[in-house]
Symmetry: C2
């Protein structure tokens, strides 16, 4: 009987194998598979730039080679055998002189998009319409390699802090934020909704595993049409039990972000460099109260402050700038948001019930996280629901955990796409969303 064998070691990429070979012999015979990214024909030879999963590799095809350059086209996939030559002008430090070139597959026709131009200047809408191929542009795709790194760092760090990974349902019968802005679904003839938050489920799971996290889809039927909003995004959520204070949640987030930034600097440097951004460096994050934040904006804003329950985008920017100037920090926690603007499950401050034991984290003057301590006591939760004219009966599944016992707990949620686009200073959140869904777009 035929058998399938197993691989038990890390597999090197072609480029890693080449770099290893060069380390012992600068003129090694090597093999490379990839897409033909760009062809530049000179008089005596041609440059053939090969696109691999993370690199562009410069190869040279001499006129003396039996392979005719006219038989090659951009978009072909090829296998090359050649000899390396050190070349400090090449981004990778070497180029490959082609000995053998085999075309593996060929496109049916040439792309209408010039993904191989250094300045890939199609409009965002065109790029999104042609996303399946536009993402082959090295800089556009780099966003998602970095996004992988953020997710890896989030998970790896939380594993070191004894969190358990969970996966909650996205088809739900009741909304965590009270039911507004939910997408409705036909579930075998009954109405159901897409989850607008894993909030209820992660709290339930605190009673099971103590500390939990989830990375999953979040769905908001909000009719915004801005550069900051999408209707399907990825939530990085965690929730932790047995806390003494909500500041432990902030500490966990600060530590996680630090871990993520270190990981990105270590393993995703080549992609970060394409954006020319430096990630925030910090060992502590300053924290101010919401009230202090309002005092800063009242003093520094040119507009008259009208909303005393929250900050608008301009005010967040003012606070971010103020903190950057006075402390040098790109990050700032704002704590103790007013109760009436926070969800019904937020824990009020026992010393001042008009505010909550909650926080936002601002990065360069833009909110990237909302978190806080939750109510664990059954009577307190039912009271708060009633005071907001909510019917506790409708939330009986959720209230099971309060009724039968919960530790003090809290957590937070981070929008992955928002964090990515803020970190990389992109102009639109859609650039940091693989296949964005907004009020006008559900394809590709």
């Amino acid at each position: 009987m035929k058998q399938v064998d197993i691989i038990t070691e890390k597999t090197l990429t072609d480029v890693e194998k080449i770099q290893k070979a060069i380390a012992t012999n600068p003129e090694s015979e090597v093999e490379l598979k990839g897409f033909v990214h760009k062809i530049r024909t000179m008089s005596e030879f041609a440059f053939v730039i090969i696109r691999t999963d993370r690199e562009l590799v410069q190869c040279v095809l001499d006129k003396t080679n039996s392979f005719n350059i006219n038989d090659l086209q951009e978009g072909d996939t090829v296998k090359i055998v050649g000899t390396t030559r050190l070349d400090s002008r090449s981004p990778l430090g070497f180029e490959i002189t082609i000995k053998e070139l085999e075309v593996l597959t060929s496109p049916h026709e040439q792309m209408p998009l010039k993904i191989n131009k250094r300045n890939f200047d199609a409009t965002l809408n065109v790029k999104l319409d042609m996303r399946p191929i536009a993402l082959r542009n090295p800089k556009d795709r780099a966003v998602f390699k970095i996004q992988e790194g953020i997710v890896r760092g989030f998970r790896e760090f939380l594993y070191t802090q004894n969190f358990t990974e969970i996966r909650s349902p996205k088809i739900v019968s009741e909304g965590a934020e009270g039911g507004a802005n939910m997408f409705e679904l036909d579930y075998f003839g009954r109405p159901a909704y897409l989850a607008q938050s894993p909030q209820f489920y992660k709290q339930m799971m605190v009673g099971v595993f103590g500390r939990v996290f989830e990375i999953g889809g979040v769905y908001r039927a909000e009719k915004h049409d801005t550069s900051r909003h999408i209707n399907e995004f990825t939530g990085l959520d965690f929730e932790m039990g047995f806390i003494d204070s909500f500041e432990e949640i902030m500490q966990m987030e600060a530590s996680m972000l630090r871990y993520v930034f270190d990981l990105l600097n270590r393993d995703y440097k080549r992609e970060l460099d394409m954006f020319g951004v430096t990630l925030p460096e910090f060992t502590t994050i300053p924290t101010i109260t919401f009230k202090e934040g309002k005092e800063i904006t009242q003093k520094l804003s040119k507009k008259k402050i009208v909303d005393f329950g929250d900050f608008d985008a301009d005010e967040e920017k003012i606070i971010g700038d103020y903190i950057k100037e006075t402390t040098g920090s790109d990050l700032v926690f704002v704590t103790h948001y007013p109760s009436k603007k926070r969800p019904f499950y937020a824990m009020d401050d026992p010393t001042d019930p008009t505010v909550t034991l909650s926080f936002d984290l601002l990065l360069n003057g833009a909110e990237i996280t909302t978190g806080g301590q939750r109510i664990h006591d059954y009577d307190m939760q039912v009271q708060k629901m009633l005071s907001r004219k909510m019917d506790p009966e409708r939330f009986s599944d959720y209230l099971m955990i309060h009724k039968y016992g919960m530790p003090k707990h809290g957590g937070l949620g981070i929008g992955l796409e928002r964090l990515t686009y803020k970190l990389l200073k992109l102009s639109n959140i859609r650039e940091a969303t693989l296949f964005p869904r907004d009020i006008n777009r559900i394809a590709p």
Copy 2:
């Protein structure tokens, strides 16, 4: 200004700290936080069993202690300070004599479910109705700790093989399997659907990153009501480009599973032991063709074979048993399934176009994976669509990748919940689904 500091090291759990303390001094003073899982009052003392995130810890409260056992109830969360004592009868090898006991939070009332009974024998329906608290039973929750391990292993292994993690949209305008069995959604007044597979997106991303994987929600509006079906599940999907043969996909899966099983045996042993199962041990996996499989079932089945396009559950069982008897293997690949029963994107075998370059993997006689090579050529794909009366125009977004060039590629999908319930030999897939959705259930 106040500052939030960061944690830079792994945090030990309370139980890990205690085990470390005991290693130097068997009678250490230790601290423990957790749920009061069970109280057993004896004449001179009481056993208080504390439930932490993964353990049950036996503590002893003497009558001489100033804390009155009658002030304690199951479901309280507590902080205990006490002294360890080695005890070989205790599952962890020690117990704690309580010096100080502080009640942190208390339940509003006692659970109607006896989650702390060794034989937690509520019916599955009752358990699912009360899932938020039923999951606090140590064995019921262990399923999901093991599930975490499966997901971790899948990811960790694929990272070593240079796969990039992606996250594709779950709100889609077109179905990968042709549009049947999809949940319909009201998307700002237009119809949209929940993704029944990440198939199109992972193929698109092969053109971007070469090798990709996704762990995400899969939605099937199938009206099955069986122990093997749920309507929302987690897909473990990968897709790899630049293959020479579809057997490389099988090798990748075999290697991944081996990595997962090794990880589970190393880090999730205490949970595995609760189920008394031994994970398959293997260095190779036998493989037979679909045709050979049919010959085996024709010889061994007591029923008359009527469907020559696929295997039914009984036939899969016969093949699994036959392979187990003849080779000792719990796993078997079956290859070359008939073209007409495989999707429109499956690559036909050039030597026999009535079959595809595809495979299923059977574990203990049940299918846990479907995979294979995909069509990369534009004309071939359009032809196959037309021969199936599909309109290529409707799939123009997907066909972009074929039109503008794709490497030879293929991949597979594994249902996480199905794999979990098969591995642990549970009787119903719902036991391996955190909050299952089926034709009758969308809550909790």
